[in-house]
């Protein structure tokens, strides 16, 4: 058992007070590692909350720099940091919130050449990317590397998320077989997103990560949670693993490949 300093006992006291978490749960959080792919609308609240929670090691993957149009929702970045690589901007904020957290940054986009190695280094993976090719690639890599992960997607006033235990629960490709045809589905950059909605979904994903780490409660396995913030209606659809799934069905895939980028990211 780890010896908690007085500072740590006080910092994490509200976790430790939780009967389901306690000292043991907090210790698990401090021993855990989480990879956040995308330091944007979803990645911002995810990184802030996991840092505050004291996750021992946080990996951040993003190849972009902070853009003025990001600041309406990507709350980990600041006006002064426009032009700064997002992973560096996010790292600063994490370290300012909680110097106990070890931050590893990867200033790159994920692709078939790096994704499996990246996810293999962490206990839990969170998808905070903004395009289908990356979302399917992350799913494939987590299935290949047998890494639990949280899928998240947002659009306009809505969001959806599911948590995946590869080979045990339904994966993203069980539900959505393959990326939709190019331009068939609007993206945040073409259709817009209410900033706070990114926070709603991101905090759900961060909560799932902390539940996974501590073993508390029931994860969104075989469940797709979606909400429409306009009506504030939340819906959970029960899913089943698809035995014929292209990715995790049968013996499953054994390696990853790049999907064609079906989304043209329009930058102003």
């Amino acid at each position: 058992m780890r010896a908690f300093s007085d500072e740590e006992l006080e910092r994490y006291s509200r976790h430790i007070l939780l009967q389901d978490v306690g000292i043991e749960g907090q210790e698990k959080i401090m021993d855990a590692s989480v990879l956040i792919i995308g330091a944007g609308g979803l990645g911002s609240p995810i990184a802030l909350y996991l840092a505050a929670a004291g996750v021992g090691r946080i990996g951040l993957v993003d190849g972009d720099v902070v853009d003025l149009s990001n600041l309406q929702r990507q709350v980990i970045h600041t006006t002064a940091e426009v032009g700064t690589p997002k992973v560096l901007s996010a790292k600063r904020k994490i370290e300012a919130i909680n110097p106990h957290v070890h931050v590893e940054t990867y200033q790159t986009m994920v692709d078939a050449s790096n994704i499996v190695e990246l996810v293999s280094k962490y206990d839990f993976i969170i998808d905070g990317t903004d395009n289908f090719s990356a979302k399917f690639l992350i799913n494939d890599a987590c299935v290949v590397a047998k890494k639990p992960y949280s899928h998240g997607g947002i659009l306009r006033f809505g969001g959806q998320t599911m948590t995946i235990a590869p080979h045990e629960s339904a994966c993203y490709a069980c539900v959505f077989d393959a990326p939709p045809p190019a331009n068939a589905v609007p993206t945040c950059s073409s259709a817009g997103i209410l900033g706070a909605v990114a926070g709603m979904l991101g905090t759900i994903q961060a909560t799932e990560a902390l539940k996974y780490i501590t073993g508390v409660g029931e994860l969104l396995h075989n469940k797709l949670l979606s909400f429409d913030a306009k009506t504030m209606q939340f819906r959970t659809i029960n899913l089943a693993k698809n035995p014929a799934c292209r990715v995790c069905g049968g013996t499953g895939i054994t390696h990853v490949r790049d999907y064609e980028a079906v989304v043209c990211e329009m930058k102003r």
């Binding site: 289908f132 069980c174 939709p180 589905v185 029960n238």
Partner: protein, 68 residues
């Protein structure tokens, strides 16, 4: 005929297949929707040959690709 779509009870015309149902339900781009019937996913290429039956439960799942 009564079915449940996205947890909502609905009355639909008899004898529809899944493609026709998506049309009746004003789903503009069926290729962007994933459908389960009574817990089983239906392949896109089987939509036209899948009849809808009394008391079927169908979630329509939509792609959401944003995140940044």
């Amino acid at each position: 005929m009564n079915v449940t779509i996205n947890e909502e009870a609905k009355t639909i015309p008899e004898g529809l297949n899944l493609v026709e149902l998506l049309k009746v339900e004003n789903v503009e781009m069926p290729e962007t929707v994933s459908v389960q019937i009574n817990g089983t996913f239906i392949r896109q290429d089987a939509y036209a040959s899948t009849p809808i039956q009394e008391d079927d439960t169908l979630p329509f799942l939509y792609f959401m690709g944003g995140g940044a």
